[in-house]
């Protein structure tokens, strides 16, 4: 366990260093943040002064060194756009993304599990065939196309669901950090389309994964043995086969949740969802390099964290894996 945590942490630090280094080395070519700050009327001299003040003209290594030093103090720099510490900006945008990913993940779990299991048990039934066909179609439609179609149909044509944004939010802890859309009807309504379109990327994948894992498990000796013990089909499917199916699925789920965070870039753009992905793209377009790098660092940290949690979880449900190390 201990070695495991150390390994993960070292990995995380490494990722963040590399990311920030690469990020830094291209920052000069990302555009000039000063141009975004000032109006078009400001003279070049004045702009140079501002850049000087911001330390944008220092040599690369000095800037990077400064970044690392500050990062070690938990300071990932200040966002030009928001005039706030980047970490704070990211934290404020995080809930929106987390709620989106959470919603999508729930949809994925609650839809893919029953469908995947069913189509493994009854591979020839009409529902299974339909599910599989649909999921193949699902992986073939780009998420932005799904999202656009959703807006067009549900919001613009039928007026049943809102088209953009998070709707009414409630400040969860009263400190302005966690604006939740989960507690209002309006907020939940706003969640539906983005969540479904985000889920639509992962759903087919999971239905297939669960189905194939389940089918594989159903072929094993221990399932055959369970039949020979005279257990009921439900028990065999939902206890014996299910738990074994879950193992690989959990691992993949961990990775995919991470990937979902990235796909929020697309969904959030289309739905103008004020989350981290949206913020990231904005930061790229407006050359807010500090925010940009901070986001990457945070995301790296999140992935390492999520993967670690998943691995630990995996260790819990799979008794044959001991996280301690030796295989």
């Amino acid at each position: 366990m201990f070695a495991f945590i150390i390994r993960r942490s070292i990995q995380a630090v490494l990722v963040m260093l590399v990311i920030s280094l690469v990020g830094f080395s291209i920052k000069n070519n990302m555009g000039d943040p000063v141009r975004d700050l000032v109006g078009e009327r400001v003279t070049p001299q004045e702009r140079a002064q501002i850049a000087q003040k911001l330390g944008l003209n220092d040599p690369f290594l000095i800037q990077y060194g400064r970044f690392v030093k500050n990062a070690l103090h938990g300071d990932l720099g200040t966002s030009f756009i928001y005039r706030k510490p980047t970490l704070e900006v990211i934290l404020k945008h995080a809930p929106a993304t987390i709620e989106l990913v959470l919603g999508a993940a729930l949809i994925v779990v609650f839809v893919s599990l029953p469908l995947g299991i069913y189509s493994a048990l009854k591979p020839r039934s009409l529902i299974s065939r339909f599910t599989m066909g649909f999921s193949t179609l699902g992986v073939s439609v780009p998420v932005f196309l799904t999202a656009i179609m959703f807006i067009y149909l549900f919001a613009v044509t039928w007026h049943v669901l809102p088209s953009y944004g998070r709707g009414e939010t409630i400040d969860l802890f009263g400190n302005g950090y966690w604006q939740t859309g989960l507690l209002t009807i309006d907020g939940l309504k706003h969640l539906i389309l983005p969540c479904i379109s985000l889920a639509s990327i992962m759903l087919p994948l999971f239905i297939r994964l669960i189905r194939s894992e389940m089918m594989e498990v159903l072929e094993t000796e221990y399932i055959k043995y369970a039949w020979a013990k005279g257990l009921s089909p439900m028990r065999i499917w939902l206890v014996h086969a299910f738990k074994n199916t879950l193992l690989p699925v959990v691992t993949v789920f961990g990775v995919q949740v991470g990937i979902m965070f990235a796909f929020t870039i697309l969904t959030e753009t289309v739905f103008q969802w004020q989350g981290m992905g949206f913020m990231f793209l904005d930061a790229v377009q407006r050359a807010d390099i500090s925010l940009w790098i901070a986001y990457l660092v945070v995301v790296a940290a999140v992935f390492v964290f999520v993967n670690t949690v998943v691995d630990i979880l995996y260790g819990f449900i799979n008794p044959t894996i001991r996280i301690a190390g030796t295989k």
Binding site: V22, N28, N29, S140, P142, L145, I265, V284
Partner: protein
């Protein structure tokens, strides 16, 4: 028995002939690829050549609509490009990029996977750690990241010329770990088998064993993931173009076409989005369907003889 006869009697062909979906997908895929490859000869016009385009022809609806013109069967886009031609050229570009990217991924992935799987030990640990780290990072973000780097390095003057190779490199670099992992897993599986040991007893050198014995036996898994990766690459290119980091507006791929169409989704010029959208989905769909079928057929558990 000749190779051809063998093929004719193989389970592979047998199961293909029985699977209507696979046959249909295969036919559609072949047609699409032929259309794409022969685009310069069969397309009504060359949409990549500015000479042919007239802004005054923009947003003409498909031929069968009221204001449609017979010159433009599927209408024109907002720049006055013939939709049909643009879709053919766009598919060609998309295929080109995807093939290139998959090739690059496969090259890196196979090299890394083979090295890691066969040498093992520290080399394996380091290579796989790199792959893990990169893998745990969503490829889309990586692609955005790499795209920024390359644009920075090469400037933008020659972007139009460099866009295709750039996208190949971007998507290729972002997705190689998938290959590396698969190859490594399959290599480790194969290396444990006794025929590899037999080759060592004969005295063959490591590289020879890897290339002549191990690699051919990993081809099956390679083929299966290649279809998936190919479909993925097409989608990645579309996503990047959608985010404005892909093909330049003057040489649209399917992704940039859809992106351009996004602006017209409410304007009534539905054909600018819908046609390339369907086109893209159709293409990816048949690739995926064939990939599914291939996976089922080549599944070592099902395929024994």
């Amino acid at each position: 028995m000749t190779k051809f006869q063998k093929f004719k009697e193989s389970y592979f062909l047998y199961s293909f002939k029985r699977d209507k979906v696979a046959i249909a997908s295969f036919i559609v895929l072949v047609i699409l690829i032929i259309l794409a490859l022969t685009a310069p000869w069969i397309a009504p016009m060359n949409p990549y050549d500015a000479h042919n385009i007239d802004i005054m022809d923009s947003e003409i609806p498909p031929m069968w609509s009221d204001q449609g013109e017979s010159r433009f069967i599927l209408g024109t886009d907002n720049m006055g490009r013939d939709m049909l031609s643009t879709m053919l050229y766009g598919l060609r570009t998309s295929i080109l990029i995807a093939v290139g990217a998959v090739f690059l991924q496969a090259t890196i992935g196979i090299l890394v996977g083979l090295t890691a799987g066969y040498i093992g030990g520290k080399t394996d640990a380091i290579l796989m750690r790199i792959a893990d780290i990169q893998f745990s990072f969503p490829y889309l973000m990586l692609a955005i990241f790499i795209s920024a780097i390359f644009q920075a390095i090469y400037g933008i003057g020659s972007y139009e010329r460099l866009a295709v190779p750039l996208l190949i490199v971007i998507i290729g670099l972002a997705e190689w770990p998938m290959y590396a992992r698969t190859i490594r897993a399959s290599v480790i599986g194969e290396v444990g088998k006794e025929y590899v040991e037999a080759a060592r007893v004969i005295g063959l050198s490591r590289p020879t064993i890897m290339i002549r014995h191990v690699l051919p036996n990993s081809l099956t898994s390679l083929m299966v993931i290649s279809t998936i990766q190919f479909a993925n690459a097409v989608m990645s290119e579309a996503a990047l173009s959608f985010l404005g980091m892909g093909m330049p507006v003057t040489k649209p791929s399917l992704g940039s076409l859809i992106q351009a169409g996004f602006d017209f989704i409410f304007s009534g010029s539905w054909w600018i989005t819908i046609f390339p959208g369907i086109w893209l989905v159709l293409f990816v769909l048949v690739v995926n369907l064939l990939g599914d079928w291939l996976r089922d057929v080549l599944n070592p558990k099902l395929y024994k003889g």
